[in-house]
């Protein structure tokens, strides 16, 4: 059967090698060109939030931490809520376009372009629960799905919907300062027990970290043993 690339719609010609002849074909919904355009975060990066140091002004680096994370850590209220963020790819123009199509246009199937990478990353991590960042009901209706929950589902895991959004405004329209000093935007849903659980939050993009810190704080307050996060883009 002809398979077309999820992003560029070109036909994918399977590469036939001896090993591919005998083994079960690996799931691959992206063509070679598009896979190559995804920029993995590699090399030296902030040990807390995965921000790459290459291309970053040295003034914004303190040891193995970036400036933003140093500031988060200095804050006694927030510093310890999120333990660590890991991100898969650089948020460059190519990924920006793909993610915009995924969430703003609502092209659900693009979750499958990323889910294999999420899946293999999760296999290296230790966790009890995967918690998607929730959408407001208004946004959920508009998009028809929660992009973070879809990533978890398409990677073959079950999303633990432990949070609910109380604030409806769009994050992307706010400046960093505004975002960080917002009132708590999430509420806990009591269905799942967070007590002593190792939790990974899943979201599409890490920008200032504000969303994830807010979510992490609530889960820590509910007794979570640790809260980390994993995003597609940074």
């Amino acid at each position: 059967m002809l398979i077309k690339c999820l992003i560029c719609h070109q036909e994918i010609s399977p590469v036939v090698t001896w090993s591919s002849l005998w083994s079960k074909p690996e799931e691959n919904d992206l063509c070679k060109k598009c896979s190559e355009k995804l920029n993995f975060i590699e090399g030296e990066a902030c040990e807390k939030c995965s921000r790459p140091f290459s291309g970053l002004d040295p003034r914004y680096r303190t040891g193995n931490l970036c400036h933003d994370c140093t500031r988060w850590n200095e804050d006694p209220e927030w510093g310890s809520s999120l333990e660590r963020n890991q991100s898969l790819f650089l948020y460059d123009d190519f990924l920006k376009e793909a993610i915009a199509r995924y969430k703003f246009r609502g092209d659900y199937i693009l979750a499958r372009a990323f889910s294999p990478f999420i899946k293999s990353k999760l296999q290296t991590l230790d966790f009890d629960l995967l918690v998607p960042i929730p959408l407001s009901s208004e946004r959920l209706y508009e998009r028809g799905f929660n992009q973070s929950a879809a990533l978890i589902r398409e990677a073959g895991f079950t999303a633990a919907e432990m949070l609910k959004r109380t604030h409806a405004e769009k994050q992307s329209k706010k400046a960093r300062n505004e975002r960080i000093h917002l009132q708590q935007v999430f509420q806990r849903i009591a269905d799942h027990d967070a007590e002593n659980k190792k939790i990974i939050l899943i979201d599409d993009i890490y920008t200032t970290g504000s969303t994830l810190y807010h979510a992490a704080k609530i889960l820590k307050e509910a007794g979570a043993a640790s809260v980390c996060s994993l995003t597609i883009a940074r």
């Binding site: 002809l2 376009e97 246009r105 659900y108 199937i109 209706y141 508009e142 028809g144």
Partner: protein
């Protein structure tokens, strides 16, 4: 990605959580907050009942103005859903299922897509079904899923015109144009179909003026659609100039006229996906151009946008084989304009065998026949175009040619400087432009010679070759020029292209349309 379009919230006051429906007493009712057991997504009903028109209902004129002739999503409509639904209950709005399913085969009602690979099954937060489906084909115009209603106007529409002659144009038509113009006018009046087969440079736009005038004077709605955005951008101002009192909507992806309802619409075919039974006259320019011929959904869009009784005018310089055959067998109404407006014959392509040019290229050499052809033009300072079958070959040749003349430039579809390079050619700053088929149509340089290297390539179809030859001798000051196909083995397409040109010249001569 294009800039995000402004999206309207369908429900500014109440929180909408869901979109499910029930049918009771032959009327469809939406459920937006809770979802009773018997409620279902719209596509799972066999048919959507349509209440009769209540003539005493005082409908919202703004909604009528916004929606008539369209098929939109609820998300596109800046009106509260209660108001929209009230119009439905009074017979002023038509709801259709966004998607139909028959024996496991889904069809998108907006774009006609039936390709399984372009439907995605997903757990939908709107209808709350685990297996909802959406169409990827027309996703960029807002997502249509199985739970999406397509909304159209079904109430009365005003069709009156107090302008008996909106056309303000003093030009004169050539005899060939006049004949075609009369036929177009007739087809518009009789609501029939007509193909205008006009050679490159015949002046086909002017041929439409009288027909459009007739339609507008009768209060009809006219749309000129084309696959190419550059054609839309060029036609917009031209038609506004000759119909100064008529509102003209110019539509393409991201254009500002998106919600403007006008008697005269000029649009890329893609934009017709938002129209439904809207037009009395559709004029389709460059029918044979990509992507119209390759994309079923565009042909579907054209069908959907026409009123059941309407006229259809096709324009092309190069109908495909099937259409040509239909014309000759009397199966298709057509009229030809075999001569250019300046009454000189079409330049006829010369075929020149140039050996295995690809092999020569590997050694960084051009066939000597080609080099000579180019040198001659450079020496006499005659501008020229050289076409290539693909970018790779072209990139290989550019450094070779720049040794002859450093100012030579190349263009292709993805070239970010395409516009400025074409402009430089127009301004005569560039002596020669080498190009892929991207410049095969639509572009006019007044005085150029043209050649193709590798005319035997499959990409050069009969119509591509006729179009490329049609770049030569466009202006009345310079009505002739040289067109050469350099090839490594003559093809059927080459022979047919030359035959078509010769035939047009012959016909034009017979009809007395050539004066030189």
């Amino acid at each position: 990605m294009r800039k995000q379009k402004v999206r309207f919230l369908i429900y500014p006051c109440i929180e909408v959580n869901t979109l499910r429906f029930t049918i009771k007493n032959n009327i469809l009712t939406p459920f937006l907050i809770e979802k009773p057991q018997e409620s279902r997504p719209i596509s799972s009903f066999e048919a959507i009942p349509q209440p009769p028109l209540n003539e005493t209902y005082s409908f919202n004129k703004k909604l009528q103005q916004f929606l008539h002739g369209k098929q939109l999503l609820l998300d596109d409509l800046p009106f509260p859903i209660e108001e929209i639904h009230e119009h439905y209950e009074n017979g002023y709005i038509l709801y259709r299922k966004g998607m139909t399913k028959e024996k496991n085969k889904s069809t998108c009602a907006r774009c006609g897509n039936e390709d399984r690979a372009l439907f995605v099954c997903f757990p939908c937060a709107r209808c709350d079904e685990e297996h909802c489906t959406y169409c990827r084909k027309c996703l960029m115009m807002g997502r249509v899923s199985a739970c999406t209603p397509l909304v159209s106007w079904s109430g009365p529409v005003q069709t009156q015109s107090d302008n008996q002659r909106p056309l303000k144009w003093n030009g004169t038509l050539s005899p060939g144009q006049q004949l075609a113009s009369d036929r177009v006018k007739q087809a518009v009046t009789d609501n029939t179909e007509l193909l205008v087969w006009a050679v490159c440079g015949a002046g086909k736009t002017e041929v439409l003026f009288e027909g459009i005038n007739t339609a507008l004077a009768a209060g009809k709605r006219v749309c000129i659609a084309t696959p190419r955005i550059d054609v839309v951008l060029e036609l917009g101002p031209r038609l506004k100039a000759v119909f100064p009192e008529i509102p003209v909507a110019v539509l393409f992806g991201g254009s500002e006229d998106r919600h403007l309802q006008a008697p005269l619409t000029i649009a890329t075919i893609h934009q017709l996906l938002r129209f439904y039974k809207a037009f009395d006259t559709v004029i389709l320019d460059e029918v044979d151009a990509f992507p119209y011929t390759a994309d079923d959904s565009l042909q579907y869009a054209v069908r959907q946008s026409r009123k059941p009784v309407s006229s259809m005018i096709y324009l092309t310089a190069t109908p495909n084989q099937k259409w040509q055959k239909d014309c000759h067998n009397g199966k298709r109404e057509y009229v030809t304009i075999p001569a250019r407006y300046h009454r000189h014959p079409l330049p006829v392509p010369a075929f020149k065998w140039c050996g295995n040019w690809e092999k020569a290229l590997k050694k960084d050499q051009l066939p000597s026949a080609v080099t000579q052809w180019i040198k001659k033009r450079l020496e006499t300072q005659k501008q020229c175009l050289l076409f290539f079958p693909n970018i790779d070959k072209m990139d290989k040749v550019l450094p070779i040619l720049r040794k002859l003349e450093p100012k030579i430039e190349s263009v292709h579809a993805e070239d970010p400087d395409r516009k400025s390079k074409v402009q430089k050619m127009r301004d005569k700053e560039v002596p020669m432009l080498i190009t892929t088929t991207i410049l095969e149509r639509g572009v006019t340089f007044p005085n150029v010679d043209v050649a193709i290297l590798g005319a035997e390539d499959r990409i050069f179809t009969e119509s591509a070759l006729v179009q490329i030859a049609g770049r030569v001798g466009r202006s009345a000051q310079f009505p002739s020029g040289n067109i050469t196909f350099f090839h490594y083995g003559k093809t059927e397409s080459m022979v047919k292209a030359r035959r078509q040109i010769l035939k047009m010249n012959e016909e034009a001569k017979k009809k007395g349309l050539i004066a030189y």
